[in-house]
């Protein structure tokens, strides 16, 4: 399988604190790939290394065939237009309205006429399920769920092939979280996106993720589909999926089938 994102033997360290020691994984085209692990297991750190915010101490990363740490100017430009990142808290620019936030990448990276950009922005707003009136609001005036949707619309502004999501459903109520999961799958199916998401929402893992990796002990302790991972005897996996919440979810899943 050719990998859209490939990480090999990655080593990350903060001072004396070794976060990753030989992490390897591969995300295939069109997959929704989950990164899972307890708090402090380095999920978000791994994501930040892959998108080029945090320099790793060793190993190799390839995203869409490029190494995000060794790019010339044109390649960096190209890469940033072809991935979208949804940060955990949305990270919308608070001085801009929702419409300006979404339109910003289009205005900066293309020379499309302004009224066309405005139309694209409105299409994106509908696409992520925001009401039309949200366009003129500032981020401080939005609810948590709306912030996530607006941030997703901004991540999708340039029609990327690759979407990074950092805990997309955290802070949403179960109904909102489920709707957001559904939206992500729908967008993947229709736009052919590849999605990499950091999550510890078991519901997301059970419902929309195709394959995922579980981080623990500074390594990937298991990688694969849900059944493959569940079959791994590693204690971290046991804790996750055979604790009370995991058992409930797994029972529900068997019941559903």
């Amino acid at each position: 399988m050719s990998c859209v994102i490939e990480v090999r033997e990655l080593v990350t360290r903060f001072g004396d604190n070794l976060v990753h020691d030989g992490v390897s994984l591969c995300v295939g085209r069109g997959e929704i790939y989950g990164l899972m692990g307890g708090s402090g297991s380095g999920k978000s750190t791994l994501l930040r290394t892959i998108i080029g915010l945090l320099r790793p101490q060793g190993g190799a990363i390839r995203v869409l065939g490029l190494d995000p740490w060794h790019l010339d100017h044109r390649q960096a430009d190209w890469l940033r237009r072809h991935w979208g990142v949804l940060f955990q808290s949305g990270a919308l620019y608070s001085s801009l309205t929702v419409a300006q936030n979404i339109g910003l990448p289009l205005r900066e990276y293309t020379r499309l006429p302004p009224d066309l950009i405005e139309e694209i922005v409105h299409m994106k707003i509908r696409m992520v399920g925001l009401p039309e009136r949200a366009a003129g609001l500032h981020p401080a005036q939005l609810s948590g769920g709306m912030v996530k949707r607006a941030a997703l619309a901004r991540a999708l502004a340039l029609d990327p092939q690759l979407l990074f999501l950092d805990e997309p459903t955290s802070g949403l109520d179960p109904v909102g979280a489920e709707a957001f999961d559904r939206l992500i799958r729908q967008l993947r199916d229709s736009l052919g996106l590849t999605v990499m998401m950091v999550t510890h929402d078991l519901d997301s893992i059970f419902t929309i993720v195709d394959r995922f990796a579980v981080l623990g002990d500074r390594k990937v302790v298991a990688e694969g589909t849900l059944d493959e991972v569940m079959a791994t005897p590693h204690p971290v996996i046991q804790q996750f999926f055979h604790g009370e919440r995991g058992r409930l979810r797994a029972a529900g899943r068997r019941h559903g089938q």
Binding site: S2, V4, R29, L64, G65, L66, Q75, W78, L79, R81, H82, S94, S95, L106, Y109, T110, R111, L112, P113, D115, L116, E118, E119, I120, H122, M123, R126, M127, H138, P139, A140, L158, D159, Q161, S190, L191
Partner: protein, 386 residues
């Protein structure tokens, strides 16, 4: 998989054909993707203006790829053409185009509001004027309420001196007073030097060298030291108050205090106001010393006045009331600066941008109020012959 090296394919292209009178055929080709649309978008933007009442036929069978931005360009052009009386038709399209078209259909607005009319835009300055007037009025009302509340809390606190936050009082005095000494030293010394230098040139012409002492002694103690110190403190401490309280507002610390029954007025505002009212007169006293010393240095070097002559003259020429008037202004200036700083800090809304805005407003307001208050003092004290 699309990767960087494979990607430098064809940018989007558009060929115009005129197969018959009144018929325009647009043959699309290349990559209709966001990153390669610029040329075609500009071509369409320019050309559509000249087309009217035509039959426009799109041919999308030759495109290599299309993404949502490409589809939106088509949609956008179609709408503009229709508005100009053209009939638009897609005569050929490949699967990629059709898939994208159907995919975006539910999300594409059939009609987009065409901006606001011109008269509306012309009225914007008037609307802004009205809004800022109303906001100014509301600010004033809120400030008066704040003033009343903080005074009440202060008076109630007097009844229970043990419950007063002595630790935050001393911390603010240290921050606003002690740590401000270096910058106050520098500014006050330079002010003294500048005044003496300018005065020396004029006075020497009249041979009135000795009167430099009167000039420095009165102007520094009565006006310059209080004013300069207050302005430095407004920039240094007033802004810090606004930013501190603003951040606490954003991180919901203020809300947490309220629900736990800790009145922010009592815990945050009153100690700051009181602390600054104590610290500023002390700073003014210090600025008096340094400012006069600055003047003394210039008088010595430039006018040849000896140190002892200067001090002797200072004692006899400068009435002590000038000094007291300067010190007396301190608590008033401090009260204004701290009030405005805390008031603006508590006004910060729940976004990061507003911290910067309110900090700026706070400094501008307090400097203005300090100068206005100083002017008021000048008038009143002169009328009273002090």
């Amino acid at each position: 998989m699309e990767t960087f090296h494979a990607e430098h394919g064809q940018p989007a292209t558009l060929r115009l054909e005129r197969p018959a009178e009144g018929v325009l055929r647009l043959v699309a080709g290349g990559n209709w993707r966001a990153e390669s649309l610029d040329a075609v978008a500009r071509l369409l933007n320019r050309s559509i203006r000249a087309w009217r009442n035509l039959r426009v036929e799109w041919d999308f069978s030759g495109i290599e790829a299309i993404d949502p931005a490409g589809m939106m360009l088509y949609r956008h052009s179609q709408r503009r053409l229709q508005a100009r009386g053209c009939r638009v038709e897609v005569i050929a399209a490949n699967d990629a185009w059709r898939t994208m078209h159907d995919l975006l259909d539910p999300w594409t607005p059939s009609e987009v509001g065409t901006g606001r009319p011109t008269w509306h835009r012309l009225l914007t300055p008037l609307a802004a004027l009205g809004r800022s007037t109303v906001n100014g009025w509301r600010d004033l009302v809120a400030f008066l309420a704040f003033l009343g509340e903080s005074t009440l809390v202060f008076l109630r606190g007097l009844a229970h001196p043990l419950r007063f936050r002595w630790d935050s009082l001393t911390r603010v005095i240290e921050d606003a007073g002690l740590r401000a000494l270096p910058i106050i030293t520098l500014t006050a010394f330079l002010i003294g030097v500048v005044i003496a230098y300018q005065g020396a040139v004029q006075l020497r012409r009249f041979g009135a060298n000795l009167f430099i002492v009167d000039m420095i002694g009165i102007s520094v103690t009565r006006e310059l030291a209080p004013l300069i110190t207050a302005i430095v403190v407004a920039g240094r401490t007033g802004s810090a108050f606004t930013a501190e309280l603003g951040v606490m507002k954003i991180t919901e610390e203020i809300d947490a205090m309220r629900v736990m029954g800790f009145d922010p007025m009592h815990f945050l505002v009153v100690p700051r106001i009181l602390a600054l009212m104590i610290a500023l007169p002390l700073l003014i006293f210090f600025a008096d010393l340094v400012g006069i010393f600055g003047g003394m240095v210039v008088a010595h070097l430039h006018l040849g006045l000896s140190w002892s002559e200067f001090l002797h003259r200072l004692q006899s020429a400068v009435a002590v009331r000038h000094f007291w008037i300067g010190i007396f202004k301190g608590p008033f200036f401090a009260w204004l600066i701290a009030m405005v700083g805390c008031f603006r800090g508590l006004q910060v809304a729940r976004n990061t941008e507003s911290i910067g805005r309110y900090t700026t407003i706070s400094v501008v307001n307090s400097i203005f109020l300090v100068i206005a208050c100083d002017a008021l003092f000048s008038v009143i004290l002169t009328e009273l012959d002090l």
